[in-house]
C-alpha cells in the first residue's frame, strides 16, 4: 500500500466500510462499532501520512482514475487541507470510541444505521477537504449534509423539526454554492480549482465573476452558520443525540470555514478577494456581530447544550473575521483556530454527552454537584473551559493571541474588543456552569464536621471518560506545540501576497 494512494484511501476506506458495516449490522449489531473504528484508524493513518508527505514534498495532486485535469477530478492536498484532514479523521475516530455507550443508551435499536450514517458523514467531510474540484465539492457537501440531517433527526423530541429546518436552510446554502459555481463555469469553462485559479485573473472585472463569488460565499456562510445565517444551528445541535453532536459540532462548521478559505485564496486569489472586491471590512463587521451576538445569546440560555451551540456561533465569527482581516497574523490565527476550536468544541460537547448519559438531561439543573460525583469528567471539562477563556498554556490562548495580534496590526480595534469581550463572556458563561457544579447543592459543611462522608463518585464509563481525557490533554499539548504547528504547517498555508 504505497503512500501515494493515501489521498484516495482516506476517503475510500470509510466509504466502502459503510457498505460492509450495514450488511454486517444486519447479522449482529455488535460488529458495527469495530468496523467503524478500524476504518477510521485507517483514515487517520492515511491522513497523517498525507500530511507528512505534504510537509516533505509540497502539494500533492492526485488524479482520480488517472484522468488529466481539468477534465478529470483531482484531489489536491496542500498544507491547509492536510491539517484539516488530520483534524477530521482524528475527531471522527475519538468520537466513535466515545460513542459506544451513548448510542447504546439513546438509540439501541438503530445501531447499524447510525454507524453507517456516521461513517458516511466522516467520508463526506474528508471528501470536502481533499477534493480539488468545485463540483465534486458540492456533491460531497451534500453527502455530508444529508447524512447529518438524518443523524441529527434521531435525537430527542424536538430534533425532527430542527433537522427539517436544517434541511431547508442547508439546501438553500448548497444551491447558492452550486449557482455560484455555475456562474464560474459559464465564464471559464472549468471546474477544477487550480485551473480556475489560472483562468480567473483576466476576468476579475467581470460582474458575473463577482456575483458568482458572492453566491458561493453566501452558500458557504449558510453551511458555516455565520451570523445572521446561523438560525439552523442552535436547535439542530442541541436536540441531537450526544454522539452526533460530538461529531458534527466540532467539524461541520470548521470544514465549511476551510471551504471558504479555499475559495477565497486558492480559487480566487487574495488580490481579488481583498482588493478587487471592496467589501472585506463589511465582513469583518459581520464577524464582530457574530461574536457579540453569539456570546450574548449564550448568556441567556438555561440549557447547557444550547449555550454551547451559541458559543460555536461566536467561534465561527472568530475564524471568519480572522480570515477577512487579511493579514498574516490574523489568518494564522483563523487557521490555528480551526484546529483549536475543533478540539475545544469536542471536549465541551463530550462533557455534555457524558452529563446526558448520567443525568439524562442537559439543562443547568442537571449539573448540580457534578464536581463531587464526576470529578474526572469535570476536570477535563475545566481544561476545556480554560481553553475557551483563552488561558495559557491551553491551545485556545494561542489562537486568540494570533487573532488579537492580527486585529492590532490591522488596527481594527472593534474586532479586538469583540474578541476580548467574547473571552470574558465565555469566562462568565462557563464559570456559571462551574459554580453550579461546584457549589450546589449547598450543604453546611461545618455542621457535618469531620464525619461528613463525601458523596460517592459516580463516574461515567471509561470508554467515555478516556477519550474526553485524551482530548483535554491534546488541548494542552497542541497549545504547547503551537510554534511547531505554525512554522511547519500554517505558515505555508497562507498564500503569498498577504502582509
Amino acid at each position: 500500500m504505497s503512500s501515494a494512494q493515501f489521498p484516495i484511501l482516506l476517503v475510500a476506506v470509510p466509504l466502502l466500510s459503510a457498505f460492509i458495516l450495514n450488511i454486517a449490522g444486519w447479522f449482529n449489531k455488535k460488529y458495527c462499532l469495530p468496523i467503524v473504528i478500524v476504518a477510521l484508524v485507517g483514515s487517520v493513518y492515511a491522513s497523517f501520512g498525507t500530511l507528512f508527505t505534504v510537509l516533505e514534498e509540497g502539494t500533492i495532486r492526485y488524479r482520480l482514475g488517472a484522468w488529466l485535469p481539468p477534465f478529470g477530478i483531482e484531489y489536491v492536498v496542500d498544507h491547509l487541507n492536510g491539517l484539516v484532514l488530520c483534524i477530521v479523521s482524528s475527531v471522527g475516530l475519538i468520537t466513535a470510541i466515545y460513542s459506544k455507550r451513548s448510542v447504546e443508551q439513546e438509540l439501541p435499536e438503530k445501531v447499524p444505521q447510525f454507524y453507517t450514517l456516521y461513517i458516511l458523514l466522516v467520508t463526506g467531510l474528508l471528501g470536502i477537504t481533499v477534493t480539488g474540484d468545485a463540483f465534486n465539492l458540492y456533491v460531497l457537501l451534500e453527502i455530508a449534509a444529508l447524512t447529518a440531517y438524518a443523524l441529527l433527526a434521531v435525537g430527542e423530541d424536538r430534533a425532527v423539526l430542527s433537522s427539517f429546518h436544517y434541511v431547508i436552510m442547508g439546501t438553500i446554502g448548497a444551491c447558492f454554492y452550486l449557482l455560484g459555481v455555475g456562474f464560474l463555469y459559464i465564464k471559464t469553462g472549468s471546474l477544477n480549482m487550480i485551473d480556475l485559479h489560472g483562468l480567473l485573473p483576466e476576468l476579475f472585472g467581470s460582474n458575473v465573476i463577482v456575483v458568482g463569488f458572492a453566491m458561493i460565499m453566501i452558500g458557504v456562510w449558510v453551511k458555516m452558520a455565520f451570523f445572521p445565517l446561523h438560525g439552523w444551528l442552535p436547535n439542530a445541535y442541541t436536540y441531537a443525540p450526544s454522539a452526533t453532536s460530538c461529531l458534527v459540532a466540532p467539524l461541520m462548521t470548521k470544514v465549511s470555514v476551510y471551504v471558504m478559505i479555499r475559495i477565497m485564496f486558492s480559487v480566487f486569489s487574495p488580490e481579488f478577494t481583498f482588493e478587487v472586491l471592496a467589501f472585506r471590512h463589511i465582513i469583518v463587521w459581520l464577524a464582530v456581530a457574530a461574536i457579540i451576538a453569539g456570546s450574548l445569546l449564550a448568556l441567556v440560555q438555561t440549557d447547557f447544550k444550547k449555550m454551547l451551540t451559541y458559543v460555536v456561533v461566536a467561534e465561527v465569527g472568530y475564524m471568519a473575521g480572522g480570515v477577512w482581516l487579511a493579514n498574516t497574523a490574523a489568518i494564522t490565527g483563523a487557521i490555528l483556530h480551526i484546529l483549536n476550536d475543533a478540539l475545544m468544541t469536542l471536549c465541551l460537547f463530550m462533557t455534555a454527552g457524558i452529563i446526558v448519559y448520567k443525568t439524562k438531561g442537559h439543562q443547568f439543573e442537571h449539573l448540580k454537584g457534578l464536581y463531587r460525583t464526576m470529578p474526572f469528567t469535570m476536570t477535563a471539562f475545566t481544561v476545556g473551559v480554560l481553553s475557551m477563556m483563552g488561558v495559557p498554556p491551553t491551545c485556545g490562548f494561542f489562537s486568540k493571541w494570533y487573532l488579537i495580534l492580527g486585529a492590532i496590526r490591522a488596527e481594527h480595534w472593534v474586532f479586538m474588543g469583540a474578541l476580548l469581550f467574547s473571552s470574558l463572556v465565555n469566562a462568565v458563561l462557563f464559570f456559571r456552569i462551574i459554580e453550579i457544579a461546584f457549589f450546589e447543592p449547598f450543604t453546611d459543611h461545618h455542621a457535618h464536621g469531620h464525619d461528613h462522608q463525601p458523596e460517592p463518585i459516580d463516574e461515567a464509563p471509561l470508554s467515555m471518560v478516556v477519550p474526553l481525557w485524551i482530548v483535554a490533554a491534546a488541548l494542552v499539548i497542541v497549545g504547547m506545540y503551537t510554534s511547531g504547528i505554525v512554522t511547519k504547517v500554517i505558515q505555508f498555508a497562507i498564500p503569498e501576497g498577504i502582509v
Binding site: L386, A427, H445, V486
Partner: protein, 492 residues
Amino acid sequence: METITSIKPLLAVLVSLSAVPILVTSNRIPNVREAWTFVAAVVKFLIVVSMLPTVLNGIEIVYTVAEVIPGLAIKFRVDALGMLFALVSSSLWIITSAYSIGYMRGLKEHSQTRYFCYFAVCLSATIGVAFSANLLTLYLFYEILSLATYPLVTHHQDPEARKSGRKYLLYIVGGSIGLALPAMLISYNLAGTLEFAKQGFLPGTASSSLLVVVLIMFIFGFAKAAIMPFHSWLPAAMVAPTPVSALLHAVAVVKVGVFSIVRVLTGVFGTDLLVSFDFGGIIITICCVTILLGSLIALSQDGLKRLLAFSTIAQLSYIVLGIGLLSPKGLTGGMLHIAMHAFGKITLFFCAGAIFVATGKKNISEMIGIGRRMPVTMGAFFIAALSITGVPPCGGFWSKWYLLLGSLEADQMAVVVVLLGSSFLNACYFMPIVYKAFFCKPEDALFENKVQEAPAFCVVPLVITAVISVVFLFFPEPFLKLATMTVSSIMG
C-alpha cells in the same frame, strides 16, 4: 550580565506541582499528606536558596522550557528581583503549611486534600511568576495563579463564598484578559519581543500617548495588585480560610500583582523611558490615592480581616509608589517592602486566624481584653503592627526609611507627606486593637484571665514570623542586597 543555564528554576516550579498526585493519593492518611506538603515546601525552599549565592554574585540563571510561539518561549530567568520574591514566597509557604495544619484541624474543615493540592499549585505558579524571563511566561503563570486560587477562596462552598468568588474572578480575570492581555499584545506588536530587558524593550517604539495608555492598561490589568479602584475583590476574598488569606492575599497573590507591575515598569518600560515621558507622576498619583483611601477605610472596619485587607491594599501601593519615584532609594525601598510587608502581614493574619480558632471571634469589638487569654498571639500582633507601621525595632522600618529617602531624592515632598501621614494612620488603626487587647478595665474584658492559646501549630508559626520581622531590622539581608543589586543593574 553573565548568565548560566540550569534546570533549577524549572525544578523549583515543578516541585509542588509534582506533589499534587501524592497528596491526592494520601487522601486517607492526613498525617502523611501533611508530611508531603512539608517535604515539598522544604525542597522548594532549598532549591530556591541554592540559587541564591549565584545570584548574589551577579550571575543570572536562565532556562528555556519550550518555544510555544515562533520567537517566544516559556523561559525562566532568575535575577535579583525574582530571587527576592521567590525567597519570600517559598520560605513563607513552609510556615503557612504548618499553620494550615493547626487551623484546618482545629476547625475540622472539609475537603482538606483539595485545599493542600491547590495551595501547592498556587505556589508553583507564584514561583513561576517570580522567575519569568518574559511577559508571556509571566502572564501564563499569573493566569494559572488566578484560577488555582479560586477553589481556595471559595473553599467553604456556601452562597457567600460563591458571591465572593464571582467578585474575585470578575476583577482578576476581567483585568487580566480585558486589559493586561491586549496591553501585552500591543507591546509585542510595537517591539517584536516580550523579553524583560534592563531598560525595558519599549523605548523608541511608540509615542507617549500610546505608551501611557498601555501603561495604564498594565497597572489596572494586573488587578491582583489591588490598586484602586480595582481593589474590592480583596476584602471580599476574606471569606476564605485564614491561612489562604494569609499566604495568598497578604503574600502571594497580591505580591504577584505588584511584582508583575514592578517587572512591567522596570523590564518592559524601563526607568529611563518613564523619566523621559514623565510617567512617574501618574504612577505616584494613583498610588497615593490608594494609600490614603485604603488607610482611611481601614480605620472604619470592625472585622479584623477586612481591616487587614484594606491595610494590605494601602501597603501594596507603597511598593509601586517606590518604583514610581524613579530614584535609586525609592526603588530599593519599594522592592524591600515586598519582603518586609510579607512577613509583617502574614503574622497579622496568622494572629487573626489563631483568634478565630481559639475563640471564634472575627470582629475587633469582640476582642477587648483578649491579650489576657492569648498574650503570645497579641504580642506577635503588636510586633507585626509595628513592622507595618514602619517603626523600629522591626524590619518594616527599613523599607519605609528607603521610601522616605527616595522621595526626598526625587524631590517629591507630597509623597513624603503621604508616607508619614499613612504611617500615622496605620498606627491609628493598629494600636487601639493592641491597647484594648492588653490594657482595659477588668470589667470590660470579654475574656477571663486564663491563658488559653490557639493550638501550637497555629501559635508557633506566628511567633516565628514575628521574630523574623524583628530580626530584619538588624539583618535585612539578603533582601536588601538583592534589592540594591536590582536597582544598580537597572539604573547603573
